[in-house]
C-alpha cells in the first residue's frame, strides 16, 4: 500500500524539485567533465552523441540509477557530470514540481522523457484562507497539453491547489491509455462532467481520489451521473474518494460499482450517503481498509418521516465483518447512537478522522477507549480537554493529532486549552505532528510538550485570538515556541501564534536549523524578527507571513536565501514597492508578484507579496491584479 499521501503537508525528501539542479549562482557553469562543452542557458545539452564505450557506460548507469527513488538523491546524481545528468534524466520515473511556475512544462518534459508519474503543486497555501484572489493562476492546462504529447505512458497524476478544467480531465482521459491514478488535493475548476469522462475513458483506473476539492457549482440539471460511467465490467478500482463532492451521486450505480470492484480497498463517500446506504456498501465490500462513512446519520427530513435504520445490530455486524478496516473518516452528520457500531474495528484502527462530528467527551470516550493502535487522530474541539485526556490515556502510539475548532472565529469560546495539550504530551510520547486550535495556552504546556515529544517534526499551534499571551502569566508565548525549536531537533515545520516578540524569532533563528516550513501571523515587533529567521534558518524552503510588522529592510536581509527557497509569501506587512523592486532587480531569477485586491490603488504599499524562484521567467497568464516586478 502506498504511503498516506492524503495531506502532503510535509513533502517527503524535502529539498528542491527540478529547479534545484540548475546552478543558482551568477555563473552557470556546465556540469563538468568530458568534452567541456558548456550547458546552454536553456539547460539542454547540445553536444554530439558520446562514443560507443561511453554509451555502454551510460546504459549501465541507467540500469543502476533506476533504483534511485528519492528525488533528492536523483538531483545530486544529476550534478555529477553530463553522463550522469543524461542517465538520470532518462530514468526518472516520478516528476515532482513543487511550484508549477518554477519551470515551464516544455522544459520539464524535454529533460525528463520517461516519466510515469507527475506531482504538481500550484497556489500558495494561503489561498486556502481566501487570501489569494480568484483567478490568480495555477492552471493545469499548459501542463496537461505538454504531458499529453510527451508522456503517452503516463500512469499517475497528483495535483495540489491547481485550477483544473473539465476539458483538462478530458484531455487526460483521451491522451493516456494506461492512466491509473488521479489524486486531486484542494483543486478547483472542474465538475461532475470531468469526473464522468475520467470514469468512462480510463479503463485501467485504480485510484480516483478527491481530497477537499472545490467542484464547480452546478444546477441540478447540470450534474452528471459520473458514477454510472465506470465500465460495466469488473473494474480495477482500488481507491475511490469523493467525500468532498457536494452533489448527490446515483446510489444504485455506486452500489453496483462497489460490487464489481473486487480490488477496492479505499472508499470515501460524501455526506449524502446515509448510514443505511453505507451499510449496503459495506456488505458489498468487506475487504475495505479505508472507509469514509459519509453522513453516518440521516438528514433530518428523513428522520422525521421515521425512515431510520431499523437494525442497529446490522450495522455492528457490518463493521465486525470488515476485518481489514484500519482507517475511518466521514461522520459528517453523525447520529451518536450509531457511533458504537464502529467498536469492532477500533482495535485495528490506525487512522480516525471524526473532525466533522460534533461529539462530546462522553461520546468519544467509549470509542477511543478501544483504539490502542491509533496513530492518526483528527477531531473537533467539542471533545474538550477531557476528551483529549482520554486520547492520551489510550493512544500510546499516536503520531499525528489535529484538533479543529467548531467555531472558527477569533472570539469563540474555545473548548480545548493548555490542559489538553499537556495531557497529550504526557500520554503520546511518539507524537510527530500536531495541529492544535485553541483560545487559551500557556508557555508551560508548550514547554512540556517540547520535552516530552522529542519526535516532533510538525508543530502547528493556532491560538485563535490575535496577540493572546500566556493566559496565566500574561507573558508573550516566546518561551514556549523557543522551547519547541530548542528541544525538538527533528522539527521541520512550525506554525506560530499568540503574542510573540522578536525574541521568539531569535529562538527560531538560533535553534531552528532544520526548519523548512514556517508560518507566521500577527507576530513580531520589528524587522529584526524576520532577519533572525532569514539569517538563521539555512534549510528554510517555504515562508508564509501575514499581518506582521516586517518591512523592506527585513525583506532585503534575505537576498542570500531566496534562491534556496521555494517561495516567500507576505501579506499585510510593511513592504513597499521600492523594497520589492530592489529584490527583483538583485535576483533576476526570482519572480516577484505583487497582488493587489484593488488594481486601481496606486499605493506605494504592497498588500500581498508572493516571491518564488523560477527558470521560466515571468508567467504569461498573470491576471490584471498581479503585478510582476
Amino acid at each position: 500500500m502506498r504511503e498516506e499521501r492524503s495531506d502532503m503537508s510535509e513533502d517527503e525528501d524535502g529539498g528542491g524539485g527540478v529547479e534545484q539542479k540548475e546552478r543558482w549562482g551568477p555563473s552557470h557553469g556546465g556540469g563538468g567533465g568530458g568534452c567541456g562543452s558548456a550547458k546552454s542557458r536553456g539547460g539542454v545539452w547540445t553536444d554530439p552523441p558520446p562514443p560507443f564505450s561511453d554509451q555502454v557506460l551510460e546504459n549501465v548507469l541507467e540500469n543502476v540509477l533506476q533504483f534511485l527513488v528519492c528525488r533528492r538523491d536523483r538531483n545530486a546524481a544529476s550534478l555529477v557530470c553530463r553522463s550522469w545528468y543524461r542517465a538520470e534524466a532518462q530514468t526518472r520515473g516520478e516528476l515532482f514540481i513543487g511550484n508549477c511556475y518554477a519551470v515551464s512544462p516544455r522544459r520539464a518534459t524535454d529533460r525528463f522523457r520517461r516519466v510515469r508519474s507527475v506531482v504538481l503543486k500550484g497556489k500558495p497555501r494561503f489561498a486556502d484562507f481566501s487570501l489569494v484572489p480568484l483567478g490568480w493562476g495555477a492552471h493545469f492546462s499548459p501542463w496537461a497539453s505538454a504531458m499529453a504529447t510527451a508522456y503517452p505512458w503516463l500512469e499517475r497524476i497528483c495535483l495540489k491547489r491547481m485550477s483544473i478544467a473539465d476539458y483538462d480531465l478530458s484531455l487526460l482521459a483521451f491522451s493516456f491509455p494506461f492512466f491509473k491514478d488521479l489524486t486531486l488535493i484542494c483543486c478547483d475548476g472542474f465538475g461532475t462532467l470531468g469526473l464522468a469522462v475520467i470514469a468512462e475513458k480510463c479503463r485501467h483506473l485504480r485510484v480516483l481520489d478527491l481530497i477537499e476539492a472545490y467542484l464547480e457549482e452546478e444546477e441540478e440539471d447540470e450534474v452528471v451521473d459520473w458514477v454510472s460511467k465506470f465500465p460495466q465490467t469488473t473494474t480495477s478500482l482500488e481507491t475511490l474518494g469523493f467525500d468532498c463532492v457536494v452533489s448527490t451521486v446515483n446510489f444504485e450505480a455506486l452500489e453496483a460499482l462497489v460490487a464489481r470492484s473486487p480490488a477496492l480497498r479505499q472508499l470515501r463517500v460524501n455526506h449524502h450517503v446515509t448510514v443505511d446506504q453505507l451499510f449496503r456498501l459495506m456488505v458489498r465490500a468487506p475487504q475495505l481498509t479505508h472507509l469514509g462513512t459519509g453522513s453516518f446519520g440521516h438528514p433530518a427530513a428523513l428522520a422525521l418521516q421515521g425512515d431510520v435504520m431499523e437494525h442497529d445490530a446490522d450495522l455492528v455486524s457490518a463493521f465486525a465483518a470488515s476485518k481489514s478496516i484500519v482507517s475511518l473518516s466521514g461522520f459528517r452528520d453523525v447520529a451518536s447512537q450509531y457511533l458504537p457500531a464502529i467498536y469492532p474495528v477500533c482495535a485495528n484502527l490506525t487512522t480516525l478522522n471524526c473532525s466533522f462530528a460534533e461529539i462530546t467527551a462522553d461520546e468519544l470516550k467509549p470509542v477511543i477507549h478501544h483504539c490502542h493502535n491509533l496513530q492518526k487522530f483528527w477531531v473537533l474541539d467539542t471533545v474538550r480537554d477531557e476528551g483529549l485526556q482520554a486520547v492520551a490515556a489510550t493512544c500510546k502510539d499516536l503520531r499525528e493529532l489535529r484538533v479543529f475548532p467548531l467555531n472558527a472565529t477569533e472570539d469563540s469560546e474555545g473548548f480545548v486549552s493548555d490542559v489538553g495539550l499537556a495531557a497529550i504530551s504526557q500520554g503520546c510520547r511518539r507524537l510527530r505532528s500536531i495541529l492544535y486550535f485553541c483560545q487559551q495556552m500557556t508557555n508551560k504546556a508548550v514547554i512540556t510538550m517540547s520535552k516530552n515529544c522529542q519526535e516532533l517534526v510538525v508543530f502547528r499551534l493556532c491560538i485563535m485570538g490575535r496577540h493572546l499571551p500566556d493566559h496565566l502569566t500574561k507573558e508573550p508565548m516566546d518561551e514556549g515556541f523557543g522551547a519547541i525549536v530548542m528541544n525538538c531537533k527533528k522539527l521541520t515545520r512550525l506554525a506560530v501564534s499568540g503574542l510573540l516578540t522578536d525574541k521568539a524569532f531569535g529562538y527560531i533563528g538560533k535553534y531552528g536549523k532544520s526548519i523548512r516550513t514556517l508560518s507566521v501571523a500577527f507576530a513580531g515587533d520589528s524587522d529584526v524578527g524576520l532577519r533572525y529567521v532569514l539569517e538563521g534558518c539555512p534549510k528554510l524552503q517555504k515562508l508564509e507571513i501575514r499581518d506582521s510588522p516586517f518591512g523592506d529592510p527585513a525583506l532585503l536581509s534575505g537576498i542570500h536565501q531566496y534562491y534556496n527557497m521555494r517561495f516567500l509569501w507576505m501579506n499585510s506587512c510593511k513592504l513597499s514597492i521600492r523594497g520589492c523592486n530592489d529584490v527583483a532587480q538583485r535576483l533576476p531569477r526570482l519572480i516577484v508578484e505583487v497582488i493587489r485586491d484593488r488594481p486601481e490603488a496606486d499605493d506605494e504599499t504592497v498588500e500581498k507579496l508572493y516571491m518564488y524562484r523560477s527558470l521560466a521567467g515571468p508567467r504569461n497568464d498573470a491576471p490584471p491584479f498581479v503585478m510582476i516586478l
Binding site: 486556502d128 484562507f129 481566501s130 455526506h271 422525521l304 479543529f404 475548532p405 467548531l406 472558527a408 477569533e410
Partner: protein, 188 residues
C-alpha cells in the same frame, strides 16, 4: 464578551434591517461577530447548536448581526472547505424549499420567509400580516393567503396539515380585494 458597539446603536441598526423570521422574535444574541467576507448565520455556542439540531423547528433564526469587532479575512486559518462543510450539513438537514417567496398584490417588492420558523398557520398568518401591514390601507382588509404547490396549482392556505403544507409549498401569494372575497368559501 467583546462589545465595541453600544447596544443602543445595535437596536437602531436592527430596526432598519430586513430580517427573516417573525419581527421582534429574534433571540437575545451572543455578540459573536461574523467574517466580513461572507454573510453567514452567526455560529452559536456548542450547546445551542446541539439543541437546535435536535429540534428541527427553531424560533427566529436571525440573520447575522453587524460585527462587534471586525474579523480579518482568513483568520483563524481554517480552509473554507471545512467551514462550508458545516454550513452544508446544516443546510441539508433543514431541507430544501423552506425559504419561500411571498408576494402581495399591489406591493412593489416581494419578501422571503422561512417556513420552518413557524409552528403553524396562525403564526404564519400573523407574521404575514405584520410583514405587509404597511401595504394595508385604502384597498381594504379583505385578503386571502394562497400558495403555489409542487404541481404549480394555486391553493388556499390552511386546508392541509401544517407539515404537508410546508413540504409542498413553493411560494406564497396574498390575494386582495374582490378576487379574494370570491375565493373565500369555508371559514379559515
Amino acid at each position: 464578551m467583546d462589545g465595541g458597539v453600544g447596544y443602543a446603536d445595535m437596536d437602531a441598526l436592527k430596526a432598519t434591517e430586513l430580517r427573516l423570521g417573525l419581527p421582534g422574535s429574534h433571540p437575545p444574541e451572543k455578540p459573536l461577530p461574523t467574517t466580513t467576507t461572507t454573510a453567514r448565520p452567526t455560529k452559536r455556542s456548542l450547546d445551542e447548536d446541539r439543541a437546535a439540531r435536535r429540534e428541527t423547528s427553531e424560533g427566529g433564526r436571525a440573520t447575522s448581526a453587524r460585527a462587534t469587532k471586525a474579523q480579518v479575512v482568513g483568520w483563524p486559518p481554517i480552509r473554507s472547505y471545512r467551514k462550508n462543510s458545516f454550513q452544508a450539513m446544516k443546510a441539508t438537514a433543514e431541507a430544501a424549499g423552506l425559504y419561500v417567496k411571498v408576494s402581495m398584490d399591489g406591493a412593489p417588492y416581494l419578501r422571503k420567509i422561512d417556513l420552518e420558523v413557524y409552528k403553524g398557520y396562525r403564526e404564519l398568518r400573523e407574521a404575514l400580516e405584520d410583514m405587509f401591514k404597511c401595504f394595508e390601507g385604502c384597498k381594504g382588509s379583505e385578503y386571502a393567503i394562497t400558495y403555489e404547490d409542487k404541481d404549480g396549482d394555486l391553493m388556499l392556505v390552511g386546508d392541509v396539515p401544517w407539515e404537508m403544507f410546508t413540504s409542498s409549498c413553493k411560494k406564497l401569494r396574498i390575494i386582495r380585494g374582490a378576487e379574494a372575497i370570491r375565493g373565500l368559501g369555508s371559514s379559515q
